[in-house]
């Protein structure tokens, strides 16, 4: 080999590799695109669709079922909407994406919405996904920690939200404890840490992690937070930003119409809607489909009380818990000082549900 061949080879080999990989990638993309195009074309009349983006608060789960049902049924398209679900990001919150205009709508929580208002990044809740709070503090059944006041001095595995420690402390105090505990922020799954006894308690959604634990045979003591003096509140919520409300109210109306349709369907068809969630979510999202079905059975009747329309929000819920959080000193403004008062009625609206 002379030096010219050597030079050519050592540059050519990597270039060839890149071409092969990129070529394979493009082929694969074309294949998957044409696959999805044919399925959507069958059910639409040629009408111009408005593209809309939605930011998730977590990897797809049964809190999101109604949206995936409406996607599967073509209800967004019927409203002239091409809904794109943005992938969940652990490091950028949906609230940030919505208030910066990167997403039209998102999924967030009452806590998140109140905290956003305090830090000058306002978002507005336009629907309650679940009418009653289904979150709970849990410990291992064999830990001997049988009520919130036992949690004093124990280790809490948190998710790193600013309001978290104050709310958990208040729950413990409501039950007669001191509300002093160690808070470890975990980037890994808190339930795994609980299982291996590295932490003593976590704050979970009963409809997902609770059922997951059941299926794995992990016995838990469950303290639903509303049974320990915390005012009931909606979680999660569908949010949008003030800018979007001003700019595209009609689009939001149509979005909510299809979304409400999806959740109403999910309320009465747990089995079918769970299957739609599995089909519509990216491949590989649910290695255990049984969990989705079990969770959907639990959640379907809880999206809203019997006889009530899905999504509607009452003033009582938007005053009780937010007030409680402010009192607990859980809400800090952008400079880190506790916020003492806030206009709660600006945090939500039902106008897009009617």
């Amino acid at each position: 080999m002379n030096s010219r061949t050597r030079l050519l080879l050592s540059i050519g080999l990597p270039v060839l590799l890149i071409i092969v990989i990129v070529g394979g990638f493009l082929l694969e993309q074309r294949a998957s695109n044409s696959g999805s195009a044919t399925t959507t074309n069958t059910q639409t009349t040629p009408r111009k669709l408005t593209t809309m983006t939605l930011a998730l608060d977590w990897t797809p789960n049964t809190n999101h079922t109604g949206i995936y049902v409406a996607l599967a049924k073509g209800w967004y398209q019927a409203q002239g909407i091409n809904l794109k679900i943005l992938p969940y990001s652990a490091s950028v919150s949906p609230d940030t994406l919505v208030s910066s205009g990167k997403a039209d709508v998102g999924i967030s929580s009452t806590e998140g919405i109140v905290a956003d208002a305090a830090t000058g990044q306002p978002v507005v809740s336009i629907a309650a996904i679940i009418q009653h709070n289904t979150s709970a503090l849990v410990t291992r059944a064999d830990s001997g920690l049988t009520r919130p006041r036992d949690l004093d001095g124990k280790v809490y595995g948190g998710f790193g939200a600013p309001y978290e420690a104050a709310v958990v402390g208040a729950i413990i105090r409501q039950d007669g404890g001191k509300g002093v505990f160690k808070n470890v922020t975990l980037d890994v799954d808190a339930m795994e840490a609980l299982k291996s006894k590295r932490i003593d308690f976590v704050w979970i959604f009963e409809g997902w992690e609770g059922i997951q634990a059941q299926r794995e045979g992990l016995k838990l003591n469950v303290f639903p937070i509303t049974q320990y003096g915390i005012p009931d509140y909606y979680t999660p919520n569908i949010i949008t930003g003030p800018a979007q409300i001003k700019k595209e109210p009609d689009l939001l109306h149509r979005f909510m119409k299809a979304t409400a349709q999806g959740y109403e369907y999910a309320r009465t068809h747990p089995q079918e809607s769970a299957q739609m969630l599995i089909n519509e979510a990216p491949k590989g999202t649910f290695p255990d489909p049984g969990l989705v079905f079990a969770s959907q059975q639990y959640l379907s009747p809880r999206y809203a009380d019997a006889g009530r329309k899905w999504g509607w929000q009452d003033a009582a819920a938007w005053h009780g818990y937010p007030e409680f959080m402010l009192k607990a000193g859980a809400i800090l403004d952008a400079s880190g000082k506790p916020v003492k008062s806030m206009n709660f009625d600006a945090l939500y609206t039902n106008e897009f549900l009617s």
């Binding site: 030079l7 990129v22 990897t59 652990a90 795994e192």
Partner: protein, 266 residues
């Protein structure tokens, strides 16, 4: 030939197999739950069963990796030459370069996402940011370490600056450049996976995150296995190219295989 192969790769092979067997036994004996640490056999099985999904994710991550690494190589090489050509430039840019590496990319993640979105571009950018530094630094050091006698000789023959660079300094810097490239190649997959963690439609990073959220730890490990194998292959590829480009430079073998390589040289 056969014996030499065994001498070269035998110890690594034996050690790997021993560790895997110990791992398998440790989990099987019930010391730790298989839902926290799956056994090697179950990982391989899970990988085979889910290959249809994982292969798509792998291709995505691989594209990000090779494009990012290619960009980093070009930028790193150019930057090194630039630093070498102008000492003023070196004094101005070098400290910034080092400082840039102290910024945790996690802090920039929201910015990257909001500025550039979810497409391929920002992923390639993050990989390039991860990888250009070792290449630039190693190559710049290599350029600095040119034999001064050779340079003097060239100058005495009225070689231009460019000629010196092309004929003496760059070839002399190549071993250092390849060292940097080898480090970068090892990092590159991890960089791509991190970029996906920030937010992506698909890729091994997203797949790991989804699987972890779904408590399917065995699938997380399957994705790790793919990552490790591909990183090794990239590393191997760099070594192969190095041997093609610099057949006279056997340092790589000395480092990798210790005594066996030395003996062959002698």
């Amino acid at each position: 030939m056969k014996l030499r192969w065994i001498a070269n790769y035998g110890p690594a092979f034996v050690l790997t197999v021993t560790l895997l067997v110990l791992w398998e036994l440790y989990v099987r004996s019930g010391q730790i739950s298989a839902t926290v640490l799956p056994t090697p056999t179950s990982i391989v099985l899970a990988l085979a069963n889910n290959w249809d999904v994982i292969s798509v994710q792998t291709l995505q991550t691989l594209v990000e990796t090779v494009l990012g690494l290619a960009a980093a190589t070009l930028v790193g090489l150019l930057l090194a030459i630039l630093l070498d050509v102008s000492p003023a430039m070196r004094r101005a840019v070098y400290p910034l370069l080092v400082t840039s590496q102290t910024i945790p990319i996690i802090a920039l993640a929201p910015l990257v996402l909001i500025w550039f979105g979810y497409d391929l571009g920002p992923k390639v950018l993050v990989v390039a940011l991860y990888c250009f530094f070792p290449i630039a630094v190693a190559c710049a050091d290599g350029l600095l370490g040119t034999d001064p006698d050779l340079e003097r000789l060239m100058r005495s023959m009225r070689a231009s600056r460019w000629q010196i660079l092309q004929l003496v300094r760059l070839p002399g810097a190549m071993p250092a450049f390849f060292s940097g490239l080898r480090i970068a190649a090892t990092y590159s997959m991890t960089g791509a996976i991190f970029a996906e963690y920030v937010g992506a439609y698909q890729g091994l990073g997203i797949y790991m995150e989804n699987s972890a959220n779904a408590h399917a730890v065995v699938l997380v490990f399957a994705a790790i296995l793919v990552t490790a194998v591909l990183s090794l292959l990239l590393f191997g590829l760099v070594s192969v190219i190095e041997r093609i480009a610099l057949p006279w430079y056997q340092g790589a073998q000395v480092r990798a295989f210790g005594d066996a390589g030395m003996r062959r040289m002698g």
